[in-house]
């Protein structure tokens, strides 16, 4: 790890000023950044430790029933907050699907949004990577592409975003509160992460010095609490990043879906909201054939890279299965243990 200057700002204004300097990086839980520094992938000249800033560590219920989650709330504390888990069960389930207990104890809400891709070529300083070194080329393009993106990729980058947490947040219209030298602003979580295009080194809308204050979920997101699930397929049954994952949330009244929400993980450089698939669900009776049609719509634009076409069909199946689990109802015990992609689907055979 390189040597660096360590600063611990006492106020938001100090943090923003310290973080705007070239070479500076913000530190919260450090679960991703320190690994990148140990591998020589990140070499910040200054770390700005945000963890002692006041006012960023609360989970606050809004007056109209939404929730505001401070950027420094630990993943474990959020997942195990009883009120939060009850009202936003798919978000708690996604949090518990990620990393391991010790990492969730350290990792923060803001840091989760800012985590870097797990593309193996990004992590290998000897490989060309446009994300790590703009203009260097993409070794993944001609390399091992099994886990590469199938939606929104570009010639310059085929990496995916690794977060579980962000997937239900995208489905539930979360909003990110951002602070910078010019004041505060808000961005929909769906628009927070950028597709790679020609500039894969730019991963989010944050400018230098800007930092995340909080993530908000609107009151409307809690209306899905009775039918909301997160389902993650990995190459082993625990402690791995998603091959593909899906969040599904339904509002069901009098036997029909009033509104459905779907987002996918592991398929693109950002959590992927599938609005076309949501439109398929509206007004329909929740049943297996409908869920498969929605899944087809969710992946309609997907394109394989090299030999990873299997991810597209796996993603369809995970979407259909997440919808079936959501229709069957949120588990009584919250937060739920992460759903198994191998368990029987309620009301149907394996699919």
């Amino acid at each position: 790890m390189n040597l660096f200057e360590y600063v611990r700002p006492a106020s938001l204004a100090e943090a923003i000023a310290a973080g705007a300097a070239p070479g500076a990086a913000f530190l919260a839980g450090g679960t991703n950044l320190l690994d990148l520094m140990k591998g020589g992938i990140a070499r910040p000249s200054r770390l700005v430790d945000l963890t002692r800033l006041p006012g960023l560590g609360a989970i606050e219920r809004g007056p109209e029933g939404g929730v505001r989650i401070g950027a420094l709330v630990r993943n474990a504390d959020l997942a195990h907050d009883p009120d939060f888990a009850q009202r936003f069960p798919a978000v708690a389930e996604a949090l518990l699907s990620g990393a391991s207990a010790q990492l969730r104890n350290a990792a923060t809400v803001g840091g989760n949004l800012m985590q870097r891709t797990r593309c193996a070529y990004f992590y290998d300083p000897a490989s060309a990577c446009n994300k790590r070194d703009a203009g260097a080329g993409c070794a993944a393009r001609g390399g091992e592409r099994r886990l590469a993106a199938v939606l929104g990729a570009s010639e310059q980058c085929i990496a995916t975003h690794a977060s579980d947490f962000c997937v239900p947040l995208a489905a539930l219209d979360a909003v990110v509160e951002i602070a910078g030298a010019a004041g505060t602003r808000e961005v929909a979580l769906e628009d927070f992460h950028l597709l790679p295009g020609a500039t894969p080194e730019r991963e989010s809308v944050l400018a230098p010095g800007e930092l995340i204050l909080a993530v908000r979920l609107p009151a409307a997101a809690a209306a899905f609490a009775r039918h909301a699930r997160y389902l993650k397929l990995r190459e082993r049954t625990s402690y791995a990043f998603a091959v593909v994952s899906a969040a599904a949330a339904l509002r069901i009244e009098a036997g029909a879906i009033v509104e459905g929400r779907i987002a996918l993980g592991g398929v693109a450089a950002k959590p992927w909201r599938a609005r076309g698939a949501e439109a398929v669900l509206s007004g329909q009776k929740p049943e297996r054939a409908l869920f498969r049609r929605a899944a087809e719509a969710a992946l309609a634009e997907a394109r394989p890279v090299g030999d990873n076409g299997f991810k597209i069909e796996l993603a369809r199946r995970i979407v259909a299965r997440a919808l079936a689990l959501a229709a069957a109802g949120t588990p009584a015990r919250l937060p739920a243990l992460p759903a198994s992609p191998f368990a029987p689907v309620p009301g149907g055979p394996h699919g």
Binding site: L3, Y6, L27, D35, L47, A76, A101, N105, A106
Partner: protein, 163 residues
């Protein structure tokens, strides 16, 4: 160099460190507490787990400067002064929950946090899920799960400690 003041196993220390010094390096190299192991050094294996202010963290992915002002507990801080083992340590011995022992300090520290944060009796599946951040290459995990299942009864006052 920055100074870090922290309490480790009840004892206060003030130590000079480089900014890049990891908590596990501070514990092992500055304080001589070598019970905390380094396995993978990439926050995967869990051999380095310690408690910082009561919750388990991977000390290989935690800067020493981040622990400034914190209270840290390592495997050396679990047993009583007279040598009486912590119920989790006693359960690991009773159920033969180790073979080579390399993962054991991290496994015990993780298991204690897991039980502390689950007042209701955990099922076998919950214990297995709860230990997903700790790798053991010897035991196949079965006896570790049995030990944690037994220790949760003692730690929550539902059963007597193993002799």
């Amino acid at each position: 160099m920055p100074q870090v003041s922290l309490t480790v196993n009840g004892k206060r220390h003030t130590v000079e460190v480089e900014t890049r010094t990891l908590l596990v390096e501070l514990l092992r190299e500055k304080l001589g507490l070598t019970g905390t192991h380094v396995g993978c050094d990439t926050s995967q294996c869990g051999a380095c787990v310690v408690h910082v202010d009561g919750t388990s963290v991977k000390s290989c992915t935690f800067l020493a400067v981040q622990a400034d002002g914190a209270s840290v507990t390592t495997i050396e801080g679990l047993a009583a002064a007279d040598g009486t083992l912590h119920p989790m340590q006693a359960a690991f011995r009773e159920h033969h929950a180790l073979q080579c022992g390399f993962c054991t300090p991290g496994m015990v520290m993780s298991a204690i946090d897991l039980v502390n944060s689950h007042k209701e009796r955990m099922s076998e599946a919950e214990i297995r899920h709860g230990l997903e951040g700790n790798l053991c290459r010897c035991t196949g995990y079965h006896n570790i799960v049995k030990a944690v299942a037994a220790a949760q009864e003692v730690m929550h006052g539902r059963a007597q400690a193993a002799e």
